[in-house]
Each structure stands twice: as structure tokens, then as C-alpha cells.
Amino acid sequence: MHNRRLSYHVVGACWSRRPSPPSYANPLSSFFSSASFFLVFRWSFPTKNDSLSSSDSARPTPLPFIMVEINWFELRIAARRLYYPTRSLSWFSICDLVELHYGYPVYRWLGSSSPPYRSFTSLALPDGRTKKVAAIHRRYKERGTSVKQLPLSYAIPSSPPAIVLPACQLFDGMLQRSHAGGVDWISALPDAVLQHVLGFLPADEAVRMSIVASRWRHLWSSLGRLRIVWPDRWINRVLLGRDPACALDEVEFVDEAAVTYVPTMQEQDYHRRYDGIP
């Protein structure tokens, strides 16, 4: 795996605002103001001499999707300081920066107990070591070699503990509900729980639930969790239709069919430019 190149394509993006997490748990969290930008990536490691259009056996192994939380402000600073001094931030330069920095706020990766990009995370060094990071990055670009491994815990801070609100406030009068037969018990649940339930449904199905009753109409737009059954044509619609004030805490990607990796034109262009893959 070390000799493989990392490639990725962006599956979706959304804005999110979340309360600043307690800083004692994650000193880096102070970097991040309340507004964040989420990108959903799919990563893959093609082998060295792989051509993306070659036969099945040489097709890059699809790896779990990850969500990356990016701080827009910091991205700009990094862009100016590091290696995009003049260019405005394009989609791909964002990807590049994330590649450099994603050790900070990799929000959550799913589907695999050990991150397959372990060697790559070492690129994300804390601030103050930008030169070295850039050097590593250049070397990586030139030769496609892996960089010296750092302990994973160093590169990726554990995500801050969720803020637990006293549930009691929500539940005053919880037992007032009647227990007679034929009771609409699901509507007696608080919105948060209903959204928890919807989070386990495929994303587009959760959206369709808005037609059940008026209470359900806008639930989908502020789900804290999404289950995306791949290939999902509507993922961008779901993500962009979200209420921007609601944080997305977890995304689960389910590969129902075996994924055949067909890069889009943009991705092909990107691979040509950066990975040297024809």
C-alpha cells in the first residue's frame, strides 16, 4: 500500500455550522470557527502503473468514503502561505489542501476499522511545520513514495466529545402520552429521535418520508446522520438541500452493488495533471 498513489474524487459538499467543541479535548479545535465546509470524498489507491481505464483487475480498489470538515478561513490562510499564493481556490486546490491538512479535522471515516491511508496522514502536521509538510508533499508528488510514518494519534486528533445536554428538558410530560391501541406512537417521539431513525434510512428514502405528515416535512434537511447507498445519484441534492445551520455528524456509505469506478471527465483531467496517469 505504501507504494500506491492516493487518489480521490469529491462526492458531495455541504455547509455546516456547529457549536465550537470544548477545546480541552482537542487543542486544534480552537482553529476552527463555527462555520465549516464539508466535503465527502471517496479515496482509492490505484497501483503504480495503473491506468484508470484498464481492465477490472487493475481497477483501483475503492476505499471507504470519508467526510472532511474544512475551515474556510484557515484554508485561505493556508492557501496564501503555502503554495497557492495567487490562484483562487478551485475545487481541486481545495482537495490538495485537504490532502495536506486533513489530519486536523478528518471528521469521521466509516466502514473500516483501520484507516487505509495511514501513511498519508502523516502529512498533516501541526502548524509551524509547514515547510516540512510542503517538502513532503513535493516529494510525494514527484515520486509517489510514502512518507515517514508518524503515530496516527499524532496526526489525527480524536474528535471532541459530543456535548451532552440534559435529556430531561426534552421529556417533561413524557408519560402523559396515552397507551391506547392504535396510537400514533412514533409522532410522540421528539424530533431528534425521529431524525435518528431517519438517519438509518437511505438518504433519498429519508427525503421521501417528508410526505408522510407535515411534522416530517423538514426533518430530512437537518439530519445529523446520513446513510448513502452507493451509487446515489441524489447525494449532492441531499447535501445541498440541507439546512445550513445543522451539523452533519456522521455519514455512512453503503456499497450495495460492487462499485465500478468510472472517473468523470473532471476526475480524469485531475488524474492526468497530478497523478501522471494517462
Partner: protein, 186 residues
Amino acid sequence: MEVDKGKGEAEETRKVAEADRDTVTLKSSDGKLFEVSKEAAARLSTVLAGMIAGGSIDDNGTDLKQIGSEALENVVDYCNKHANSIPSAALISSSISFNTAPFKEPEEWERKFVDRLSHDALFDLVEAANFLGMERLLDVTCHKISEMMKGKSPDQIREVFNIKNDYTKEELEEIRQELAWAFYDD
């Protein structure tokens, strides 16, 4: 020698006393008492963990006025089963990543645990889990409900869960247009 023996005995009694304090007594809304190990309660429920840490645990039964005895019985049952099913190493790591770990599919015993519940019991358990801040139990029960919804049409869902459709025709049409991408294939 004698002194040592005395020491040993003292230690033993202390241990017994500690073992006594290893459980938490919970009292349901209708006054029934349930015992659950302190360790499991603190690990599985953020609210109970807070109560234990804050010293608001009553030896004669901590009052949980919001939870009926059936639901509490299920909760305690779940705590015990959970404690039995996890090896100690995994237990430690799960306690660290308690709030942050991504959802894992329910295990076999968890599936069985929720499958045997009636609608009402499941509903009560969801509320109890939410009230007690038991993330895993909430995940498992909500997952069960979502499985009951999966693949069903809105009409079927209204029927299964006795939901009243309070939309007018115009509103329904409005939603269908708004979310046309989700409802119609091109």
C-alpha cells in the same frame, strides 16, 4: 501472623463493601426496583454516568419518574447482556470512544433483543434510552424502527405507525414538486 490475618479480613470486608456499591438501584415510575452494575450503567448511559459522578445516586433506588417498569426492565436487561457480550479489551476502547464512535451494525444478540419487543415496548425503550442518554441502545432501537420503515410507501408507513396524514392535497402537490428529484426518476 495474627495481625496479617486481621488485615486480610479487613481487606475482605472492604472488598465486600465495595462489591455492594458496585450496583446502582433504579426505581421506575411505578416504584419497582432494578439493580444494574455501576460500571455498565456509567458506561452505557451518559445520564447515569453523570448522576454517579455527581453523587445523586440514591442507595434506596434512584427515582426515574419518566420510565415505566417494563421499559426499565428492558434497559437493565440490555445493560447486563451488553456487559456479558463484550470482552474486556473491547470494553475499554468502547468506553473511550463512547461518544464519538461511528455507528456499527447491531450485533446478533442486539437484533434478537429488539426483535422480541412489541411496538409499545420498543417505543418505550426508545424513550427510555433517549432519556438516559444511552447512545448504543438508542442506535439499536432506532435502527430497528428504520428497518420497519425501509422500502415502504408513505401510505404503508402511515398504516404501520398509525400516523395521521395532515397534508392537504395542495400541500402534497407542493412537496412533490419541491422534491421532484427524490420522487420521480427522470
